[in-house]
Homo-oligomer: 201 residues x 2
DNA sequence: TGTACATCAGTGAACGCGCGTTCACTGATGTAC
DNA sequence: TGTACATCAGTGAACGCGCGTTCACTGATGTAC
């Protein structure tokens, strides 16, 4: 049924264009002011028609959050694997902050809209998640001997600490310090280096 | 005019009770859902009457933000000054996270509602501000020799880094990791120690 | 002390707004014979 | 190829909601003489 295929394609592409419109509105005015009616207006449809493609406003936001999540993973995968593991950890940290700075609304969607599904360290975790990427890089740095664990400060704890540092930088620069002029890149790099140094022998 | 005094007192105390009601509502339902009408309802007044005490909803939020700011300063002033400066820095970091955990809505008010007034490192800063407290503690740690600056990684940069680390912990625990069960206190302390260690010689 | 007046604290009703969602509908497109 | 029918994409109007703010008002309290 080629017509079915066509209809599915059309359905999917209209859906994508609605999502794109919604994301543009978030970037323009912030998620707090996002309304289904305005998405429809800007996309050229009636409000009612969006219910043909989504269950409601919440589903639209959920889909955008998932997209943003994927985008973050791409950033974190950029640093090459053929550099020393401790350097690579720094690059991943820098990539994290870069993502937040270049895509502040996506960043907000990932971290302020989606609660983590994971509730204890013993639970399994989605293998494609940003957290896993960072944790794997930490594992490699430990195996190479450039950073060391100590009593009670284990793999998860180190990963969380690095995440906190990067997340703090990203959040401060995007909100509280958004008007503050400084060479954040340089300072951030020094901070990551300092932390990694502290993790050494 | 004693009656004037009484009226002023009354006015001030009603104002305080309205603020208290508003804060309770924020704690209960989050700031996104805060409405002037509900504050009035819960406080036992008509919506119109709140305009006797505030210029509008925005002023209520602004006053609560200022209160929250003061409260954070109190937390950061708790660690005693008669301990080694590098240890004290760790305690201040822990106090910062403690504030965020014990007062998540106040924390949100401080960091997500108030943009920083300061836009470059050369501008003066309010002496009672949390930032100044942390920076002063860093100064003392540098003077005692327990942490050292290096080329391009100066006082402001070190303060910002510590702030980022603490802010990242606080934000993650309050939002993304709010359901995650772990001994965050222990891990946080290790992370601060690691960073301070990295700042040493 | 009594009274006329001014100030005060607070109200009820209305303003216009934008929101998410539902539902009966219509006109266009595709399908079966 | 023509036609009767089914499916589809999309709509207009209405639902009820809660919001921030304004304004003319009222009854209570305090003041001045």
């Amino acid at each position: 049924m080629p017509e079915n295929k066509t209809r599915q394609n059309r359905h999917a592409s209209v859906k994508q264009s609605i999502l794109k419109t919604a994301m543009a509105l978030i970037i323009d005015k912030g998620i707090a002011k996002l309304s289904l009616r305005e998405i429809a207006r800007k996309a050229g449809y009636s409000p009612a028609s969006l219910y043909e493609y989504f269950e409601g406003k919440d589903e639209i936001i959920a889909q955008l959050s998932a997209e943003a999540f994927d985008r973050l993973s791409i950033y974190l995968s950029q640093p090459p694997t053929n550099i020393p593991p401790d350097k690579r950890l720094i690059e991943i940290g820098m990539a994290y902050v870069k993502f937040a700075r270049e895509n502040p609304e996506h960043y907000d969607l990932v971290f302020n809209r989606l609660p983590s599904k994971r509730s204890t360290a013993s639970e399994e975790i989605n293998a494609a998640s940003p957290y896993i990427i960072v944790r794997q890089a930490v594992v490699e740095a430990i195996e190479s001997g450039s950073i060391v664990m100590s009593r009670g400060y284990d793999l998860e704890a180190i990963t969380y600490s690095l995440w906190s540092l990067a997340h703090g930088m990203a959040t401060l620069q995007n909100t509280h310090l958004s008007q503050f002029e400084a060479d954040f890149d340089k300072v951030n790099r020094s901070a990551f280096e300092t932390f990694i140094k502290g993790l050494g022998t």
